[in-house]
């Protein structure tokens, strides 16, 4: 029991009033949305495409519902969130069945036009389908061990294929690029320069400086993550330089992330103004 029951009652009353105001505002917004939608995208108007108009209204409504989270988490946002997950999953299941399982597994095995076709399908599909079914063993705790055979093949085959390709693409080719001569940074056809000012005028100084910065950055960052030697004196300076390079890279990533998120917002706003409200920009 609170020491101040009256204060608790006042707080509860204020919360209820606030909730009622919010629900009223929400209802009003829904009505406004529907009126605006039917003015700008009337599906029953003469010559209108009802499917497209209703699709636009639903898409606009869901967009606004998702934006409502900026005010506060609310039941409509929860509905939109769950709808998104459900629709994505449903769409994935339908497409996987229609474009993959039905034409490549079900039809060859159960709707084979001839006995020879069925024999060929059985020959090619029995093992992969059996392995796929074994994977479903994970669903059961008791029979989960069955899936290990399929996983063993997946991992063994996957690692065998991946190791040479990944080593080549992510390690060897990257190492080659990191240690290539500076001449390659400006290209083999680039005119030779004897002084820095000459190189600047010829436009070859930029790529060379870029390659040098990349080289210094690689060494400094690698040294920062090299813990077998205590970072003292010169080591400390190189290590600090490594941190600076890392910070610059984080800054670049953050800048790009901001740009990406704003692009998504611009996309949605352009959709709402251009397609839903049908306002043509210049």
């Amino acid at each position: 029991m609170s020491d101040y029951p009256e204060a608790v009652n006042i707080q509860a009353g204020a919360a209820k009033r606030r909730q009622a105001v919010e629900m009223g505002a929400l209802a009003l917004l829904v009505v406004v949305f529907l009126i605006v939608s039917f003015i700008r995208q009337n599906p029953f108007a003469e010559g209108a495409n009802p499917g497209k108009a209703i699709g636009l209204i639903v898409a606009a409504g869901l967009t606004l519902i998702m934006f409502s989270f900026l005010y506060r988490d609310n039941p409509l946002f929860k509905i939109g969130e769950n709808l998104y997950v459900g629709v994505s999953l449903g769409y994935t299941v339908v497409i996987t069945w229609r474009d993959f399982l039905r034409p490549l597994v079900y039809q060859p095995l159960f709707e084979a036009p001839t006995a020879a076709a069925l024999q060929s399908s059985l020959l090619h599909l029995t093992v992969p389908v059996a392995l796929g079914i074994l994977l479903l063993g994970r669903i059961s705790r008791k029979h989960g061990w069955i899936s290990r055979y399929a996983y063993a093949i997946l991992i063994g085959w996957g690692a065998g294929v991946a190791i040479p390709l990944v080593t080549n693409s992510y390690i060897l080719q990257q190492l080659t690029a990191a240690v290539k001569p500076l001449q390659e940074a400006i290209g083999p056809q680039a005119p030779a320069a004897t002084t820095f000012s000459q190189a600047w005028l010829l436009g070859t100084a930029g790529p060379v400086l870029g390659a040098l910065v990349a080289m210094i950055g690689t060494v400094a960052v690698l040294f920062y993550f090299f813990f077998s030697v205590e970072h003292k004196k010169l080591g400390s300076a190189v290590s600090k330089l490594g941190i600076w390079f890392l910070m610059v890279s984080f800054g670049a990533s953050f800048g790009y992330t901001v740009m990406g998120r704003l692009s998504l917002l611009i996309g949605r706003v352009n959709f709402l103004l251009g397609e839903w409200l049908n306002i043509q920009n210049k």
């Binding site: 294929v161 740009m259 990406g260 692009s263 103004l273």
Partner: protein, 287 residues
Amino acid sequence: MSTNQSRPRYYELTRRIIYVSIALAVIIPYFYNPKQDFSPSIEVRKVYDKVESLSPGDHLLISIDYDPSSEAELYPMSLALLRHCFKKGVIPIVMTPWPTSVGIAKKGCDEAVADANSMFGKKVVSGKDYVFLGFRPGITNLMLKMGDNLKGAFDKDYYGQPTQGMKALAGVSSLKNVKLLVDLAAMGTVEWWIAYGADKADIPMATGTTAVMTPDLYPFYQSNQLIGFLGGLRGAADYEKLLKIPGRGERGMLAQSVTHVLIILLILGANIHMFASQLLRKKEALS
């Protein structure tokens, strides 16, 4: 005590002011669209030049690795690339390893086909001037299979037409016969396409990615594993500018610039506010 109690309300208000300012910064430029002068980046120019260097009848593979949640950034790239192909007579082979990308990939093809008719006066036909292969699962396995036998990986196109004997795929037996591979990705498939597709088949590769993913591409660009890339909406705008066909990318640039300036001002303002508050608190503590 009073400061602690008033803080949440103050911050809540600031948060909402920021939301409203960003919303206005995006909405207002929609109504004013002056000509923006910007020069396309070298990375985008290289992709454009590569497509431009292809001959009519050459094949370009486009892997659509994004779903509608990244439409704003990547759909303009798809359109610009497909329009470029149709303009040049290059045959795009469009496919996706993601089930949720099928709809948006088809929408891009349909829109670009309609544009080819209205913009270049060309009647582009599926199976002859382009092919939309649709979806197959497996991702890396699919890439490997395409490297060996592309028509084996996709025995039919999206519309159910057999790929064997298809005019659009004449001379293409595997990835090796493709002149350029372009991955338009919002998911981590770029590295997979590099290792399992382009490097293995020894073909040039370019990408168009969301801005968030773009910084990770520079090492591959430096090592020439990527000939170039389109980064975010700006990348799409650069490509549209080079192609001289305005689209959603270019249209979004003014809003992008205005919001970037606003964010810079907000960061500066917040920092000035923070330092000023610290200074004031120190002064109060001293007095």
